[in-house]
């Protein structure tokens, strides 16, 4: 009874919190769209120029907007003191962590993935790459959230974690970026994308199994520094 209770209790609470401020749900998405808009303006509006960059830009924007959403992942709990209660009572902390990350992914990674085909088209992403890139994001964004969660937990006790978080986490994101972009390249070249997608899937599974433990450990430490 304890473990499903921990998971669903946290899920319900975080869900309520997310719904209470629908703006916050829409925001990483807005950032994603904005970064993608900056590109044609900063680089070139011509589709001939944009097409080969499109997949990379989509992925970089996904990385950055995930990153931006991460800062608040545990910050508020820490500030309000609820993190202490969580560490004190939520004994196998991983379950509460998993629930938190799931809510976060549902609010950021998922809509971002769903929006990717539309934004891809705006960036003149070749049609052949459209669905492979989306599939890559569907598998890759959970990895981003899981790895990012570790960084967020490690930096939560720092008052200005924001950019240190970026520094910790972006290098970890790079393999995901490289795999994700190569899916698009393979697709454009007419080669099979399944192997790379399988790697992404394996990465997601691995991250799912390991990251929550790292996060739980980091949170326990964060509470101690109080």
């Amino acid at each position: 009874m304890k473990i499903p209770g921990l998971f669903w209790g946290q899920f319900r609470r975080d869900g309520a919190l997310a719904l209470r401020q629908p703006g916050e749900l829409a925001n990483p998405l807005a950032f994603f769209v904005l970064v993608i808009t900056l590109f044609p303006l900063g680089v070139s509006p011509e589709s001939a120029v944009l097409a080969p960059l499109a997949a990379g830009v989509l992925w970089i924007a996904a990385l950055l907007s995930t990153l931006l959403g991460l800062e608040g992942l545990f910050r508020r709990d820490r500030d309000e003191g609820t993190l202490e209660q969580l560490v004190l009572h939520g004994d196998p902390l991983v379950f509460a962590v998993l629930a938190r990350l799931l809510v976060h992914w549902l609010g950021t990674g998922l809509p971002l993935t769903l929006l990717a085909p539309v934004l891809g088209a705006m960036l003149a992403l070749p049609e052949a790459a459209r669905w492979p890139v989306t599939a890559g994001l569907a598998l890759g964004t959970p990895i981003l959230v899981l790895l990012g969660g570790v960084g967020a937990a490690l930096t939560v006790s720092l008052r200005s974690g924001g950019v240190l978080l970026a520094l910790l986490v972006l290098p970890l994101f790079i393999p995901v970026l490289i795999l994700g972009v190569s899916v698009a390249e393979l697709a454009v070249a007419g080669l099979p994308t399944a192997p790379v997608l399988a790697w992404l899937g394996a990465g997601a599974a691995l991250a799912l199994i390991t990251a929550p433990f790292a996060i739980a450990g980091a949170l326990s430490i964060a509470v101690e520094t109080g």
Partner: protein, 203 residues
């Protein structure tokens, strides 16, 4: 009933090269309450955090009877955007999953917040937030045999203070124990002891 809820032996803690306490030994038996007193900066909060496991920089031995622990710190530990009811429901999902919602309503009534169930906590006054936080105590009751309370009387009005005193007495009567800090002198009663920190021995 024999083993104390908490035993502390030879506890010593330094912060910033200043010794807060050394050679500190005491025990909290079932049915006992211990008031920590001492001037500002004496180390009361630090001691409570050590006992709760939040401050590992100490020497000495702390042994605690098994079972969950109720710890209320300086902050009320509430999500400002959630209502009192939601906050408590989440707390219960951590500590006692499966508790009925009616108990939350009862606890809120107990702490004088009937009618405020649906207000987001950030729209409550300082004392009201404190009360929501305190509503955890009747909800846990003896399920958490040891309560650690850091200045539970802060921001409370007279009735709030009387309420906390009653909650403590009930908990003691049920066989629980508590350690709490406060600067206010309390009326002496059986089972209530005082531990002074930061002054050699007495006030």
């Amino acid at each position: 009933m024999d083993t104390p809820l908490l035993t502390v032996r030879q506890l010593r803690c330094e912060r910033d090269d200043r010794v807060l306490f050394a050679d500190l030994s005491f025990a909290v038996a079932r049915g006992a309450a211990l008031q920590l007193r001492g001037p500002n900066g004496a180390g009361k909060t630090t001691l409570l955090r050590i006992l709760a496991g939040f401050h590992p920089d100490y020497e000495g031995e702390v042994s605690r009877a098994p079972g969950p622990l109720a710890y209320l710190g300086h902050r009320p530990a509430l999500s400002g955007l959630l209502t009192a009811e939601e906050n408590l429901a989440h707390y219960l999902s951590l500590t006692a999953p499966g508790t009925a919602v009616s108990e939350i309503t009862d606890a809120l009534e107990r702490v004088g917040l009937a009618g405020y169930e649906d207000v987001p906590c950030q729209a409550l006054s300082a004392g009201q937030q404190r009360r929501v936080s305190l509503a955890r105590l009747p909800l846990l009751g003896i399920a958490a045999p040891l309560w650690l309370l850091d200045e539970p009387f802060t921001a409370l009005d007279d009735r709030g203070i009387a309420l906390v005193t009653t909650l403590l007495a009930e908990h003691q009567a049920a066989g629980g124990g508590a350690i709490f800090t406060t600067h206010q002198p309390l009326a002496p009663r059986p089972g209530l002891e005082t531990l002074w920190l930061g002054l050699e021995g007495a006030p």
